[in-house]
Symmetry: none
Subunit: 211 residues, 4 copies
C-alpha cells in the first residue's frame, strides 16, 4: 500500500476507503444507523477511528456513502438478472417464470434486504437515500423490465399496456408476497415457497397481460 518512499499510494488510499465503506455497511446493516458506532466500523475495517473520519468526514456522510456503495453492488447483481430477460425467446410463461424466480431470490438475499431495511428505517433522517438507492436497485430493475415488456408488446406477445405500470406490478407481485411470507426476512423462505411465489406471480401476470 505504500510506495518505496513510504507515501501511501493512490491505490492504497482507495482500498482503505473501500474497506471502510464495506465495513460500515456491514455494521449499519447489522445494527441500524443510530446504534451502530464508528468505533466498530473502524475495528471491522481494521483502521483507527480517526482514519474513518479522515476518509469520510462524519457519521452521516459515512452512512450515505456506504449505502451508495452497497446500492451499486446490489445493482450490479440485479442487472445480471435482468440480462436474462434477453433470452425470453421461447415459451413466455416459462421464461418469465424463470426470471421471476431469480429476481425473488435476489430480492430476498441479505444485501438487498439490508439495503431495503435501512432505507425504510432512515427515510425520516435521510430522505434523499430513497431516490439514491431505489434509483439504483428497484427502480433500475423496473426500468429494465419495462423496456423488455415494451418489446414483448410490440412483438404482439403481450397486450398493449403501459409497460412501466406492468413492470411495477410484476415486481410488486414478486416482492410483496415474498416480504409478507418471510416476515420481512425474519423467516427464511424455503426454495419451494420462493418458487411458488414466483409461479403465482407469473401466472397472474401472464393472465392479465398476455395478448
Amino acid at each position: 500500500m505504500t510506495d518505496s518512499a513510504g507515501r501511501a499510494t493512490a491505490r492504497g488510499r482507495i482500498d482503505k476507503r473501500q474497506a471502510i465503506l464495506s465495513a460500515a455497511f456491514d455494521v449499519f446493516a447489522r445494527r441500524g444507523y443510530a446504534p451502530a458506532n464508528v468505533a466498530e466500523v473502524a475495528e471491522v475495517a481494521g483502521v483507527a477511528k480517526p482514519t474513518v473520519y479522515n476518509h469520510l468526514g462524519d457519521k452521516e456522510n459515512l452512512f450515505r456513502r456506504a449505502m451508495e456503495a452497497a446500492a451499486d453492488t446490489v445493482m450490479e447483481r440485479n442487472l445480471r438478472d435482468v440480462e436474462r430477460l434477453r433470452t425470453l425467446e421461447g415459451d413466455l410463461r416459462a421464461g418469465l417464470g424463470d426470471v421471476a424466480y431469480r429476481m425473488v431470490q435476489t430480492c430476498c438475499g441479505e444485501p438487498s434486504r439490508a439495503l431495503r431495511r435501512l432505507v425504510h428505517a432512515e427515510v425520516g433522517q435521510f430522505p434523499e437515500l430513497v431516490e439514491l438507492v431505489q434509483a439504483r436497485t428497484a427502480g433500475r430493475l423496473a426500468e429494465a423490465l419495462a423496456d423488455r415488456l415494451a418489446r414483448l408488446s410490440l412483438e404482439g406477445r403481450l397486450r398493449a399496456a403501459d409497460p412501466a405500470v406492468a413492470a411495477e406490478q410484476f415486481l410488486s407481485l414478486l416482492t410483496g408476497p415474498a416480504e409478507a411470507r418471510s416476515r420481512l426476512g425474519t423467516r427464511k423462505l424455503p426454495a419451494a415457497e420462493l418458487r411458488a411465489i414466483a409461479e403465482a406471480a407469473t401466472d397472474t401476470f401472464v393472465r392479465a397481460y398476455a395478448a
Copy 2:
C-alpha cells in the same frame, strides 16, 4: 378506592397510560427508536419522565407497547375498509376498484406508513414486532380479503383459486406501486395518482381472476 373515586382513579390511570403510549408512538414515528428519547415522550404526553417508567418499564417495553397500541388503532381503521367488501353486490370491477382506492388511501396514511417504517427499521432489534404488528394490520386485512374473495369464487364471479394467494396479490398490487411511487412516503401522492394505482391494480386483478 371504591365506586366513583375508584373508577375515576382507574380511568385516570388508563388515560395517562394511553396518553403515554400515544405520545410514544408519535415520537418514535418521527425520530425512530434509537434517536427518540424518553424525555420527549414524557413531554409530549404531559407527564414527568419517571411516570413513563412507572407505567411502562423501560424504553424497549415502551416501544413494544406503543407499537402494539398503534397497530390496534390502524387495524380498526383497516377493518372498516374491509367491511365495504360486503357491499360488493353490483359490478365487480367497480366494487373492487372502490375498495382498492380506500385501501391504498389507508395504507398510505401516516399511521400505516409510520408503523410499517418502524417495523422495517427495528426488525433487527425487535423481530417479534413483525408478527405482532403484521398480524394485526396487513395480515388481518389479507385474511378478511381472502374470506371475501372465497365467497366471490363460490358465487362464480371469480375463478377458482387459492383465495389467500389472491388476496396477497391484490394487496401487493396496491401497496407495492404506492410505496414505489410515493418514494416510501417521501412524496405525497395526489389523489389522481392514488386512484390510478387502485384502478391499475383492480384491472390487473380482475383480468387475472375473473371467472
Copy 3:
C-alpha cells in the same frame, strides 16, 4: 391492630414501627446505607412507602433509629454473656476461657457483624452512630468486664492494673484475631478455630494479668 371503631390502637402503631425498624435494619445490613432503598424496606415491612415516611421521617432518620434499635437488641444478648462473669468462682483460667468463648461467638454473630460493618461504613456520614452504637455494645461490654476484673484484682486473683485497660485488651485479644481470621465475616469460622482464638486470648491475658 384496630379496635372496634377501626382506629389503629397504640399497640398497633408501635408494632408497625417496630416492623419497619426491623425491616430497615435487615435491608441496610444486606445492602448498606446508600444502596438500600426505602421501597424495599417498605416491602419487607409489609407497608406502603409513604407509611415509612409517616412513621420515621426521612431515610437518614430511619437509618439512625434502625441502628439504635438493632444496637439495643445486640446489647441485650451481650449482657447475658456478661452475666456469666459473676460465676467466675472456680478456676480463673477456665472461667475466663469459657466467657471468652461465648463472647467471640456473640461478636461473630450476624447481628453484631452487621452492626459493626454499618458503623464502620457510615462513620463518615453518621459520626454520632459510633458513640450511639459502641456505647451500647462493645463499650457496655468493656465496662461490665472492667467491673468484674476490678473485683478480681481486689480479691487478689489478678495483679493490680487499670481494669478499663485490661478489659479493653481482653476484648481486643478476642475480636482482633476473630475479625482477621474470618476475613471480616467473609469466611465462616469453625467452632474449633473460634475456641482456639478464645483459648489463646485467655492464655495471653492470664499470663499478663495473673497476680
Copy 4:
C-alpha cells in the same frame, strides 16, 4: 511513538492513570462507594469524565483498582515500620515499645483508616477486597512481625510460642484499643494517648511472651 515521544506518552498515560486512581481513593474515602460519583473523581483528577472510563472501565473497577493502589501505598509505609524491628538489639521492652508506637501511628493515619473503613463498608458488595487489601496491609504486617518474633524466640528472648498467633495478638492489642479510643477515627487521639496505648500493649505482650 518511539523513544522520547513514546516514553513521554507512555509516562503521561501512566501519570494520568495514577492521578485518577489517587483522586478516586480520595473521593471514595471521603464519601464511600455508592455516594461517590465519578464526576467528582474526574474533577479531582483534573480530567474529563469519559477519561476515567477510558482508563478504568466502570465505577466498580475504578473502585477496586483505587483500593488496590491505596493498599500498595499503605503497605509500603507499613513495611518501613517493620524494618525497625531489625534494630531490636538493645532492651526488648524499649525496642518493642518503640515499634509499637510507630505502628499505632501508622494504623491511625488517614490512609490506613480510610482503607479499613472502605473494606468494612463494602465487604458485602466487594468481598474479594478483604483478601486483596488485608493481604497487603494487616496481613503483610502480621507476617513480617511474626518472622521477627520467631527470631526472638530462637534467640531465647521470647518464650516458645506460635509466632503467627503472637503477632496477631500484638497487633490486636495495638489496633483494638486505638480504634475504640478514637471512636473509629472520629476523635483524634493525642500523641500521649497513642503512646499510652503502645506502652500498655507492649507491657501486656512482654509479660505474656517474655522468656
